[in-house]
Symmetry: C2
Amino acid sequence: MNGADLLCATFVANGVELCFANPGTSEMHFVAALDRCPGIRCVLGLFEGVVTGAADGYARMADKPAATLLHLGPGLANGLANLHNARRAFSPIVNLVGDHPATHLPHDAPLTSDIESLARPMSGWVRRTVHADDVGRDAASAIAASLAWPRQVATLIVPADVAWNATAAQPVRCEMPVARAPDAARVAAVAQALRRRARTTILLSGHALRASALETASRIAQASGARLLAQQSNARMERGAGRVPIERVPYNVDQALETFAGTEQVILVGAKAPVAFFLYPGKPSSMLPPACTVIELAGRDTDLAGALEALADELRVPSSVAPERAAPAQTNLPTGRLTPGAITQALSALMPEHSIVCDESVSSGRSFFPPTFSARPHDFLQLTGGAIGIGLPLAVGAAIACPDRKVIVLQADGSGMYTPQALWTQARERLDVLTIVFANRRYAILQAELKNVGAGEPGRNARRMLDLDDPSLDWVSLARGMGVEAGRADTAEGFADQLRAALAQRGPFLIEAVL
Amino acid sequence: MNGADLLCATFVANGVELCFANPGTSEMHFVAALDRCPGIRCVLGLFEGVVTGAADGYARMADKPAATLLHLGPGLANGLANLHNARRAFSPIVNLVGDHPATHLPHDAPLTSDIESLARPMSGWVRRTVHADDVGRDAASAIAASLAWPRQVATLIVPADVAWNATAAQPVRCEMPVARAPDAARVAAVAQALRRRARTTILLSGHALRASALETASRIAQASGARLLAQQSNARMERGAGRVPIERVPYNVDQALETFAGTEQVILVGAKAPVAFFLYPGKPSSMLPPACTVIELAGRDTDLAGALEALADELRVPSSVAPERAAPAQTNLPTGRLTPGAITQALSALMPEHSIVCDESVSSGRSFFPPTFSARPHDFLQLTGGAIGIGLPLAVGAAIACPDRKVIVLQADGSGMYTPQALWTQARERLDVLTIVFANRRYAILQAELKNVGAGEPGRNARRMLDLDDPSLDWVSLARGMGVEAGRADTAEGFADQLRAALAQRGPFLIEAVL
């Protein structure tokens, strides 16, 4: 057995069964070890942003880590943007980054770089293994670190000789971390604050947005008169008909300020006090009124469902108080011009139960959220860190974690061009993913932001940086180039027809919705 | 005037006239300032790897820096792999990375990250501007740092408020750095070593591979009996008929060891002592025999052409010793099966004078080098840092630097999928780039490396990570999807026909060569 075998065995012993990979020469012994290890499924991404984004999607749906296999510093660098998103999603991921053997590093061969410096900004845990004998222990530590609440990205750097050297060490099992128990003093303090009957918002994120925790939160809100609100961006929300309908903090600063105007206290449940995504001249960083009190019921390292239950008990919410539930609605198919609203209407009507919606529609998709409170129950996964290029990879990971569920990607065209290679992996793995490209042929959000920051109307140079229409991207061609069947729609009726056909089949399909 | 205007004016004052950009909200004031600044041409990349790779190609051909405009930490992260290559190419580049204003950073908004930690591994110079008044000085320092020999990547972090705040400061001109003069003592020592008539290799890189410096080196080699050799990978070589023919150190370790077997001394001229690209079990890091002496004539911070001239003078090389020059050869067009060799043959016959060849053909392209010694004179640009995904972006930058020259990309299919978005920029800017995709539909180099590292024959899992044929990439579709006209060839005759037609027209074209 060599170090690479030991590492694979340690993964299997700890329930890590999936490896999203883009290996190179320094990782060849892992490739060989994975070859000998039937307990791990390997999924190739043609670019590392696909690899790390897929690991994020997998973690959000499987609630456990996948491994990634990345080729030295540059391979890690290519995956960092989606690791940034994963960090903001608190997704457990174990990165394996190959490197030169220690004796080769002083020679500064072309691919040498400071991997630790690259890894740290997006990783909560970084370690370099030095001996083959240690790689089982270190891999187990990486898995445990990734699962330590609030969960995080763990990066293990494994020099090539650690992989190829023989070892007699045995696989190590790690202890599975448990979330912190709710803090009784905080529960009591929050209960007291809620009894004050001030104008209160309970702000939720993380596992507090799963269906059952939300029901508890809804009962608390009704008993206390507080308002429920979700953080602006969340790793995963369970929503739709029969579930608790909950709005999010708006992205737009003026709207967010208006949302919190008059709020006297905010209770945080796995959420952060709301701040502006970007700072704008003359506007504040915090979205809360200056006098607003902020009390944390529980942080992301805590059992949020448990904390909400403890709060409901402390408040003695009567069992007669039922959670608010969104009623199912019959939606007609849209007609006429193809707009984001028409796309939402068609999805509301046709989206199957237990769909997983991966949203990177940026400006075009803002219309999706409100009407789909009453759509069939679904999971909703968002861009959490603002690093665009997550939509298509996220869908890869979600589809692998949940092979029996339809995955629907709401994909802005500008962002989609960051990691289009994910379509190839969808084709190779025959994933049941429907991608809807909102083809407005511009960075629409930036055209709005140019005005928001007070920089005025775009001239020729600026338009050349904000328009994508010269030439227009042909997403049908792009998808077919990577083995994914595709169609184009430019009317609401045409879109609904394509959507119905795409949902009736299994496997990847892309609809370019020309807006 | 605001900070962004001051920064643009400083760029113009120092001859920086090109900005490869992928901006976001925090860079909107730059976009507005660039709009008002006719002295700077803005080129949009749909992914930051395109932006930084294009800046590298521009620097290699223009011998001066372009600016890049990148969106906070994740935008920089996406550009790092090609900045790694640029660092290894000693290309001057000035990165502008936007960030949140200092007052917003403690709020840890979603896009916040440790930009300095991300920037340092691939940058020789990193600074954060704090006040709008300082941005002229800092930009001038960044330009000067990028041009300081041996030239490097300089990264300036510019918070959004530095861009939008008003300033009365004036643009700053930087002093243009000059290369270090040749060191007389080293010149004398090398001359003495050469007179010893030991078995000597003069190893060249950097500006020593430009046509005129190579002529001096060739005269020295003939007078001294030394062998000339180029580093394995080089930013730019001037070669072809009428120029000095010079081989490179092989990538393959056994071949490299064989190349240096019996070598008693190596003279470095802007080159590094040769090391293995990767370390393999039981093989050495250094490619030189243990007893071989290494003497550096001049490092990359030195005027290499001047150092070679000083050495020729010191050796009193007679003026009658003429440089070796490759004779032009008439090459017939290839027939039969389409192979890498047939592609080289067609290129040798048809490639126009002063073509710029960007080589990221990895394993398929190794056949290109020897037969094209006698092709029409051309520049040859290589992958310098091993971070794949440079070919298509490099061509963008080279074509913008040299609009009157044909740019030819030798592109492996696996590497090409890292930054295919560059094709869109080629279309948008109507760049005269011909891309030849070597479609072998696998990571061929890794299949060889799996054996090289002693990991054996690939099984099913390993093949799934090394093959690209399920599904096959359709490069014609991909190119058309981004607005680039394309054709496919699977015979030598078909390829030659397409090549002739493509070379006869201006503008981007892609040939998928199915091998």
